[in-house]
Assembly symmetry: C2
Homo-oligomer: 252 residues x 2
């Protein structure tokens, strides 16, 4: 499926719908993993905004709008991970999952993924205080990010884990950005890409852990169905977020 | 106020009610701390079951009922702390608060406060599998522990922090146990008390952190009132828990 920036906003408001399988019997562990991986076609990497980004066709203003808005999502991540831990009765799982909170919040001031994202914003030309006070964050973006926290608070922990499996698709997107930024946006200094580089290590580790948990716990038709639906929810949420940014900072 | 084991169950079902102040203007920072500390008279250290414990008058069966039931509470703690983090927008606070989860869950299998509590159970004569599968946990105890997790999930994070301030009163109780156990229950081996010893270090650190946050964030009449109410809720919850255990394992 090809998309261009000339499509109307309405037709872009949802991702290409993933094919949620109608199961009659539970999938085996590998088939379940393959089914979840096949949802990559709905990942927001395919949204026109990302296509424009990777082709070097975003203006500095659009990049700034993007980076300032995405902070709301970055900031939601430790809270959604804590929500998963708050619902999870297994100390083994909690003990591993807590690493995600530490990755984003850091171990002291000036460390962690949220801080790296703020630095990316500065490198793109958004003053730190304008990042931190979220004055540029669009209500739709905030709502999307908060809907993810709410999902993780209110759904069984394993469904929230399944929703995190968009991480399976993240490394490709990170690699594209790491290649595209120096090529197309040479005014952005190299250290600004540290966040993307850190995710190249963290996302594969996290998604493998998440996938194994889903394979272990979702062994019935019902639980597998819910895992697919959880991942579809998350894909839609990410798409809504980038689409909101895309429309708000449209230049033409 | 003196209580004896001859009082009826009904009259023990709630703690001596703490005097929640009716504020007309906000308390200063120190007065707020003093007010919260004054709630110690409602702490479950005063429940007859604890009195009997510290006087060496509990039977092995009663101690076993206590230790097996209290595990449900120990296991709820990391989930309630994760709930607080899931509601807290401040990475500085989250970064400190996460230590509580690590303290209880440990950093690997066989570590952490929950494991120490299971070992205490074993030392008191409850087989590990009977601790772990919670077969002895009374519904009322589970309900009390879960009500604490729900409180922390659903209330503003600073109120949940205020509810944690029973930690202010914990070290005294730990010291009493560490003194009473070897004296009155010499059949319990010394390593069994490691949990109490770990809390002697953790509880003062945690309660100071919690108190400072409440002093910092609760500066209006309304927010101070809610902090007092949150602490009263937690005191009642602890009391209900010990009272349920007391009544279930009564011997007479």
């Amino acid at each position: 499926m090809t998309m261009t920036a000339t499509l109307s906003a309405a037709s872009l408001a949802a991702p290409p719908p993933p094919a949620i399988p109608q199961l009659e019997r539970p999938l085996g562990s590998e088939a379940l993993a393959d089914g979840l991986r096949s949802f990559s076609t709905s990942y927001y990497a395919r949204h026109p905004f990302h296509q424009l980004m990777h082709e070097g066709r975003l203006t500095p203003l659009q990049l700034r709008g993007w980076v300032a808005n995405r902070l709301a999502y970055q900031r939601a991540i430790p809270r959604k991970d804590a929500a998963i831990i708050s619902n999870c009765p297994d100390p083994e799982v909690r003990r591993e999952w807590i690493q995600r909170i530490i990755d984003h919040d850091g171990t002291g001031p000036g460390t962690g993924g949220i801080e790296l994202w703020i630095r990316l914003g500065e490198a793109l030309g958004v003053p730190r205080e304008e990042m931190v006070d979220e004055r540029h964050v669009l209500p739709g973006v905030r709502m999307a990010a908060e809907s993810y926290v709410t999902f993780c608070k209110t759904k069984p922990w394993i469904e929230a884990v399944a929703s995190s499996l968009t991480e399976l698709f993240a490394p490709d997107l990170m690699r594209k950005r790491i290649a595209a930024f120096p090529e197309h946006y040479p005014w952005i200094r190299a250290e600004a890409l540290d966040y993307f580089k850190s995710r190249l290590v963290q996302a594969p580790r996290d998604s493998q852990q998440g996938l194994m948990l889903v394979q272990l716990h979702c062994t019935t038709v019902e639980s597998q169905q819910r895992a697919f639906e959880a991942l579809a929810f998350k894909l839609e949420m990410l798409w809504v977020m980038i689409d909101t940014i895309h429309n708000a900072y449209r230049e033409s």
